[in-house]
């Protein structure tokens, strides 16, 4: 029986189970020996809490980082990105350059955000400054669009589109990947009404069960390239990649660098009428429920590609593996950022990777990606 991966999951989704079974892996119970555990975010909180003091052995791998919430809770994400900017500024990094209006040129990708109720007074001040703008209200602890609502929809803001982008990166913050084609909830062109519509539709009766209001990123790309041209479209996608890389770098120092973990994040990005992407939030548990046929195919492939990277060849995992995946296993992932490569590549790679703007001096933050350490969380 040696050589077969033993898996556990507490999310009974066919896209997961089919993928495990396809690899000939063996299902075991949670309290047995396992190699691979695809767990929900609740479980990782419980299982690896201070009380249990669970330790992972070399051949065990889980699909979350224990403190992923540094990135996936809206308030903490904003806090981390703000801190990241401040640090870069202190270092005098060219990344933190500002334009004449005092806005970051490269790091201004999170919309003006306030945490209520703490920031309420600041919010009201800002609200009054621009009475015609619309605000998206999102509860901090909830996921996948639950509890979202809009305020002041009298706005004249045109052409917003909503686009949830899935991305993932692996152990040790050294390689970040993004799925080329992903589920996205897009309402293009037309008015802001559409954003509202999507939000309503998701919970309403007229929700379409065939496509579920999801447009693929390849459709988005085809549409934008056809109507807006190739250059701006490429720029948009480069900027989205940039956001993903920068947001991950922002949380890198606070995240536990654990070799037993990988994680598949869902990025929620809004594109404005000037085709500038804005990071809204990051999800640690992108929905694996397949709402439509295409959804199922896409998500099955997503998990398939993810597993190929996290558990190459379907062998029993070993956290000492070299984590740079060979090209063949990437599937529909593309490597956005490889920290080891970034370091060997020279210091100004970060800026160059940003759609051809090459300036400046040092960028890449040195991270220890050396020997694996047996970690406990306490």
């Amino acid at each position: 029986m040696a050589g077969k991966v033993k898996w556990v999951t507490d999310i009974e989704k066919s896209v997961l189970i089919n993928n495990f079974e396809k690899r000939g892996w063996i299902q075991v119970a949670e309290n047995e020996d396992w190699n691979f555990y695809w767990m929900s975010v609740q479980t990782i909180r419980n299982v690896f809490s201070v009380e249990t003091g669970y330790r992972l052995s070399d051949d065990q791998i889980v699909n979350h980082f224990p403190n992923h919430y540094e990135l996936t809770r809206k308030d903490l994400m904003v806090k981390n990105i703000k801190r990241y900017r401040r640090e870069l500024e202190k270092e005098g990094s060219p990344l933190a350059e500002k334009d004449e209006n005092g806005k970051y040129i490269y790091l201004d990708f999170v919309p003006v955000t306030f945490m209520l109720p703490a920031d309420y007074n600041l919010f009201v001040e800002e609200f009054r400054k621009n009475p015609s703008s619309t605000w998206i209200m999102k509860p901090c602890g909830k996921a996948q669009g639950k509890g979202i609502f809009l305020i002041n929809k009298l706005s004249q803001i045109k052409k917003w589109s909503r686009d949830s982008k899935t991305s993932s990166y692996k152990l040790g913050f050294c390689r970040f990947c993004t799925v080329k084609y992903t589920p996205s909830t897009s309402e293009l062109d037309n008015m802001f009404v559409h954003l509202t519509n999507v939000a309503i539709q998701k919970h309403g009766d007229d929700y379409n069960h065939i496509h579920g209001g999801k447009w693929t990123v390849s459709n988005l790309r085809l549409y934008l390239e056809s109507t807006r041209g190739k250059e701006v479209t490429n720029k948009l996608f480069d900027e989205i990649h940039w956001i993903i890389v920068q947001s991950l770098k922002a949380v890198a120092p606070v995240m536990n660098n654990d070799k037993h973990c990988f994680e598949c994040y869902g990025y929620d990005i809004i594109i404005d009428d000037k085709l500038k992407p804005w990071l809204i939030e990051v999800n640690a548990s992108p929905s694996l429920t397949s709402s439509t046929a295409n959804d199922r195919i896409l998500k099955y492939n997503l998990i398939n590609d993810t597993l190929n990277i996290a558990v190459p060849n379907g062998e029993i995992p070993d956290c000492k593996w070299n984590k740079s995946p060979p090209k063949e296993v990437l599937g529909n992932y593309e490597v956005l950022y490889d920290e080891e490569m970034a370091q060997s590549d020279g210091p100004d790679r970060d800026l160059r990777s940003r759609s051809g703007q090459s300036t400046g001096t040092k960028g890449g933050r040195a991270r220890d990606s050396g020997k694996p350490i047996l970690t406990t969380w306490k």
Binding site: S186, E187, L188, D189, N190, M191, V193, N197, D206, N208, I210, H211, G213, K214, W215, T216, S218, N219, L222, Y223, E225, S226, T227, G229, K230, T233, T292, N294
Partner: protein
């Protein structure tokens, strides 16, 4: 059944339709009488140029083709001859026979020549010379006379006239060199290119004139039994529409109350949020019903034994029409060959863009800069780069979205706001049933309503009935049934939508985000191509010929597969018919569909649809040989969204041993 106010409203619209070409004359709609309804067929031209509206002018009419004779001998209308036409020819005094306009590639193209192949450029569409029985000179002069007549009624003509008046007062104008000066001026000012494109567009859309002796209906369809079949099919559609009308006791048309007008205007951009109860409405017909009709088509001059024999066709289509074989198709579609660069193949990840893609994009930009329709049409045969497609298609279709075009669209819109038509509900229903459920197109739901509702009111669409085998249905105002003076076309554009109609518009939404431009592109695509997919005719791009071409290709090149499917009761055409009727829209992934439509525009022909349908069967042949029922065969071919169109076409046409 039709309230009078509605009638007047439409006649007003009709005259405004004329306005798109000759400047608006709003006073006309005040004067109009119900009698004017009779003059609908040529709405664009008539106000400006009498006669321009009717391409089949008296001197072109006469005795007609000998249309039957030996078994299966057919005279399909000769396909339009597509040769580029120097604009100056129109003004030239030289006898046309001494310098056939087609011989010389347009000037603009010379600088586009990139390969030895292109150096002998000639947008060739083989086929009989126009009016095969005419001597070439008189055929040509008939064509020229018709084009001149048609252009006289166009907005281009009035623009030129205006420009001429302005230029008249310039001091440098000399009477002795006037002719040369005009030629030079046309060239330097860019008018020549516009004129050239207009002429080219006419040549593409209108069939070549028939023999002067041919009766006018031959322009629509030369074969009598086809005309008759189309006529009875139309009667059936109308009957179904009428019975729905009676059943639901809904009038064909009525004016909206002011409050409703206001409401509709307010939600014009979000009509999709409206959820009217349409459960009682059903599509007038679906492709399946239409296939049944085509299967029962027979040529009365041709003996069809009921027993299958070598003499009758083993497929579902039993009429003898001339369709192309692979060698002919190879010659026609020579640019799709293995040695020609091809978007859809040579832009894939494995091929570095330096080999083909970059150069192709560069040439495409040059074609656009030259604003030359003919060059654009030749160019798109190798596929359009995504970012250039919208402009290239507009150039080929000669759509420029001028202020008057936008105004025209706005008027159609206001007509939608004012009047409620029964067909609106059919359009709503169709969008809800098709595009709204489509992974690719649901985001464009609102656009589809806008375009399709305006389309139903557009009387300029009626013009295409001069060369379509179909005839627009008529309706009479209340109490005047059967009296010609009180007849109007219904719907105003003469086109009754069927199940899946909105899929003709949906893919275009990927290219154009301005509704008025989207609308014009769609209308032009419809009157050039799509109408042929749901009317019975012998035209090589007509659906009957496509079906026959598909069956013949399959029968000739995959006889085992064809025989197997036929034996298990899964006639291939039963599966492929819906693909072809919709021009594959909704079946292929959008990027692939657009690559396919590139070639439709490039070759000005729908035959590629039949070739692709056969190629899909060839591609899935191994799986299809294993099935034992129609349902299983349908399942094998249920999802075409992963197919790559260009490799399939190329393999089928050029890489198969024949």
């Amino acid at each position: 059944m039709l309230p009078f106010s509605f009638l007047v409203g439409y006649i007003g619209q009709n005259h405004l339709g004329n306005g798109s070409s000759v400047g608006f004359s709003p006073e006309l709609c005040l004067n109009c009488s119900p009698r004017a309804g009779r003059s609908l067929p040529g709405p664009r031209g008539e106000a400006a140029a009498p006669g321009a509206a009717c391409p089949a002018a008296p001197h072109e009419q006469g005795t007609g083709y000998p249309c039957w004779g030996a078994r299966g001998a057919q005279c399909p209308p000769p396909p339009p001859k597509k040769k580029p036409f120097g604009a100056s020819e129109l003004f030239s005094q030289e006898p046309f026979s001494t310098r056939p306009p087609g011989r010389r590639p347009p000037r603009s193209l010379r600088c586009l020549v990139t390969s030895p192949r292109a150096a002998v450029w000639r947008p060739k569409r083989s086929g009989p010379v126009p009016g095969a029985m005419l001597d070439p000179d008189s055929g040509l002069s008939l064509t020229i006379a018709r084009i001149v007549r048609r252009l006289q009624g166009s907005s281009l003509h009035s623009q030129l006239e205006r420009q001429a008046r302005v230029s008249l007062h310039k001091p440098e104008i000399k009477l002795e060199s006037l002719k040369e000066d005009i030629k030079d001026f046309l060239k330097t000012s860019g008018w020549e290119k516009k004129l050239q494109n207009a002429v080219y567009s006419e040549l593409n859309v209108f069939p070549s004139p028939c023999h002067p002796a041919a009766p006018p209906e031959h322009m629509k369809e030369p074969l009598a039994y086809m005309r008759k079949a189309q006529g009875s099919w139309e009667k059936r559609i109308l009957k179904s529409l009428n019975s729905m009308c009676t059943e639901l006791s809904i009038p064909l048309a009525q004016k909206r109350p002011a409050s409703e007008q206001k409401e509709l205007l307010n939600k014009w951009n979000e009509m999709g949020t409206d959820e009217p109860d349409l459960s009682l409405f059903r599509p007038v017909y679906a492709p399946k019903d239409f296939l049944e009709v085509l299967m029962n088509l027979r040529n009365p001059n041709y003996e069809n034994g009921e027993q299958p024999s070598f003499r009758n066709h083993l497929g579902l289509i039993q009429v003898p029409l001339k369709v192309k074989d692979i060698p002919e198709l190879k010659e026609d579609f020579s640019e799709l060959g293995l040695n020609t660069g091809q978007l859809g193949i040579d832009d894939s990840a494995q091929v570095p863009p330096e080999f083909f893609e970059n150069e192709h994009v560069r040439v495409g930009q040059k074609v656009l800069a030259e604003q030359d329709s003919a060059a654009a049409q030749q160019y798109v045969r190798q596929g359009c780069p995504t970012a250039l497609r919208a402009d290239l298609w507009a150039l080929i279709l000669n759509i420029s979205n001028q202020p008057e075009d936008i105004l025209y669209y706005e008027q159609l819109k206001s007509n939608v706001i004012q009047y409620d038509l029964l067909v609106d509900s059919l359009i709503y229903k169709d969008v809800k049933l098709t595009a709204s459920n489509d992974d690719y197109y649901f985001v464009f739901e609102d656009y589809l309503y806008q375009v399709l509702l305006c389309f139903s009111r557009d009387t300029s669409v009626l013009e295409h009935f001069t060369y379509s085998s179909a005839t627009p249905p008529k309706s009479y105002i209340r109490g005047k049934l059967g009296i010609e003076e009180y007849a109007v076309f219904y719907p105003p554009n003469g086109v009754i939508p069927f199940h899946g109609f909105s899929m003709y518009v949906a893919p275009l939404c990927f290219l154009y985000h301005e509704p008025s431009k989207l609308y014009q592109i769609f209308r032009e695509m419809y009157v050039r191509f799509f109408f042929r997919l749901h009317s019975i005719s012998s035209h090589p791009s007509g659906i009957v010929s496509l079906c026959l071409l598909f069956e013949t290709l399959l029968q000739t090149h995959l006889p085992q597969l064809f025989y197997h499917l036929r034996e298990i009761g899964a006639q291939p055409l039963r599966i492929s018919f819906k693909w072809m009727v919709r021009a594959f829209s909704g079946y292929l992934a959008t990027d692939q569909l657009l690559l396919l439509w590139d070639r439709i525009l490039g070759y000005n022909s729908l035959e590629i649809l039949a070739v692709l349908a056969a190629a899909v069967f060839a591609f899935r042949a191994v799986n299809l040989m294993e099935v034992t029922s129609l349902a299983a065969a349908e399942a094998v071919l249920a999802d075409l969204s992963t197919l790559k169109v260009m490799p399939l076409l190329q393999i089928f046409l050029f890489a198969t041993v024949t």
